[in-house]
């Protein structure tokens, strides 16, 4: 039986979100798995694997006091998941340039066509309001070889953005 659910949460950043949510889940007897939590645009966001015999309704109810008190939005969904399935990325791609529409779409489409499997992506808008810059950091696996990805990188560069492709040689010892 797979009892994993994915909890997604968003709310205005404030002290105590993580501590209160995870405490409520702990007290409900749920087990936590992998998570990604970060501040995006002044909001705090959580993606958290939760394993529990309880139904989504029951879990949601356990969190209701915290959710209402802190004005958060949450949702649980049942997922097919298991732990210990990490894939080791073989490269890091950094893309940056003046913010323009379609930069993420064009970059990721070119990478997709080169057989590049994204395992992790962070993107940020920095610079000033008048002159925003876009920065994307991607980790992934070149499933069709690095040469194909290098070609894709050239294609992305032709659009006037800066792209750097660096091998990620994980040392396992």
């Amino acid at each position: 039986m797979n009892n994993w659910k994915m909890l997604t949460l968003v709310g205005q950043d404030q002290p105590g979100i993580v501590a209160r949510i995870t405490t409520a889940l702990y007290e409900a007897g749920a087990q936590l798995g992998e998570a990604s939590m970060m501040r995006l645009g002044g909001n705090f966001t959580i993606m958290l694997m939760v394993k529990s015999e309880q139904s989504i309704e029951e879990l949601t109810q356990c969190l209701t006091p915290v959710v209402q008190d802190m004005n958060l939005t949450i949702s649980f969904q049942s997922i097919e998941a298991s732990l210990h399935q990490h894939e080791i990325p073989d490269s890091i791609i950094t893309v940056y340039g003046a913010d323009r529409s379609g930069i993420v779409a064009k970059t990721t489409t070119a990478l997709l066509e080169a057989g590049y499997n994204i395992t992790d992506l962070d993107s940020d808008v920095a610079g000033s309001e008048a002159e925003p810059i876009y920065i994307i950091q991607i980790e992934g696996i070149a499933t069709q070889g690095m040469a194909a990805v290098e070609k894709a990188v050239e294609q992305i560069k032709a659009d006037g953005v800066n792209v750097d492709l660096a091998p990620l040689d994980v040392m396992i010892g």
Partner: protein
Amino acid sequence: MAILDILKYPDEALKQVSEPVELFDDQLQNFLVDLEETMWAGPGGVGIAAPQVGCFKRIAIVDVSSKPKIKHNGCMILINPEIKTWEGMKIGREGCMSVPDYTGNVIRAEKITLQACNAQGELIDYECTGYEARAVQHELDHLDGLLFLDRLVSRRTDLFKRKVYKK
């Protein structure tokens, strides 16, 4: 010859400090053969330290010669090793046979010099850079009961950019 069992964290034995080798006898030679074979059998196959197989002696093996296009010293048998100098700092991704299914960023010196005895007990000087220097520092940490988990730095990438803060 035998492939030895790898201790895995949370086995607390991995956190202990290992003792120097005093006897360079046949037993040691046999152990080195097994240790090297165990290293090759692992997922990375570039380094191993004796405490990872439950032998709490200051012994490590590093061999990064299978990696393309990098500087290396071949197969280094490092007994009672001591790092003499450190230069530069670099973030890199590490994993460990004793910590399966996890990789993380660790800062290591880019260039090191070290002294270690070989299998015969002769003192040898080495200079290591880059990937090999990283592997040596990772393995020598095991001899002091340290795991790469003790040295994790942020996965967030602003740390990659601060190449300037050298000592």
